[in-house]
């Protein structure tokens, strides 16, 4: 039969707990937060839109951009125009991202069209076709 080992912490006897000890609830006063600084003003100016970005991907997943495309951005009335002046191509949309997305689709469409007609392009479109291939390649 195993013998009981002495406890590490000795608990007081029950008669000690009952010996006149009471619990009293006391209100605690938490520190109050500092009053708001009403005289601090933050001025937020109109967000400065970029007028130029470097495009690294096309919205058409069939193509990969191998050289960043310098895209000009213009906001006109209720639309934004993203253009790639080097190839005279542009996209439009209600926002910068929409316009850039449209440009990406247009560039992909242009690539496919010029690729099909490569043998019968005029000198200007032939130059566009060569420029396009410097920046964009089809994904395998």
């Amino acid at each position: 039969m195993a013998t009981a080992t002495a406890p590490i912490v000795k608990q007081p006897q029950a008669d000690v707990v009952d010996a006149g000890l009471t619990v009293q609830l006391m209100p605690i006063e938490w520190p109050k937060p500092a009053p708001a600084q009403m005289d601090v003003r933050v001025e937020v100016g109109p967000a400065r839109r970029p007028d130029r970005i470097l495009l690294g991907t096309l919205s058409d997943q069939g193509f990969r951009v191998i050289k960043p495309i310098a895209v000009s951005l213009e906001v006109r009335d209720d639309s934004t125009i993203a253009s790639w002046p080097a190839v005279d191509e542009f996209g439009t949309g209600a926002s910068i991202s929409n316009a850039v997305e449209d440009l990406g689709r247009t560039v992909a469409e242009l690539y496919r069209t010029l690729q099909l007609d490569a043998a019968r392009l005029g000198p200007d479109l032939h130059a566009v076709w060569e420029k396009l291939q410097e920046f964009v390649v089809p994904r395998r």
Partner: protein, 110 residues
């Protein structure tokens, strides 16, 4: 540029068109595709200056294309003067589809 003005140019120059995400249009001369342009679908205002650059004309010439002052033969001359139409392609080809569709000169029109 209004959508209907774009369509005036399409008809006047006999541009070939294809509807994709946008309405694509291109001009062919002597079997070569020489310029291309596009407009978005719907009746939204089109960026005339971008379309003008794609058509290789200046502002006055674009106005002429929309109105009656510049017709297909004049447009071809503009493209030739800018080197957009190769001179060799003109002399090497016997068949010019444009000649059959060339509108009459616009003399007498307002």
């Amino acid at each position: 540029m209004k959508t209907h003005e774009f369509e005036i140019i399409v008809r006047k120059l006999g541009l070939k068109t294809r509807n994709s995400g946008d309405r694509l249009a291109w001009f062919e001369y002597n079997g070569q595709t020489v310029v291309r342009t596009k407009r978005s679908h719907g009746n939204k205002e089109q960026p005339g200056d971008k379309i003008r650059q794609q058509l290789k004309v200046n502002e006055q010439q674009l106005s002429g294309l929309i109105s009656c002052s510049i017709e297909l033969p004049e447009y071809i001359e503009i493209l030739k003067s800018r080197g957009i139409i190769a001179q060799q392609s003109e002399s090497s080809s016997q068949q010019k589809p444009d000649e059959t569709t060339t509108p009459k000169p616009s003399a007498g029109k307002p």
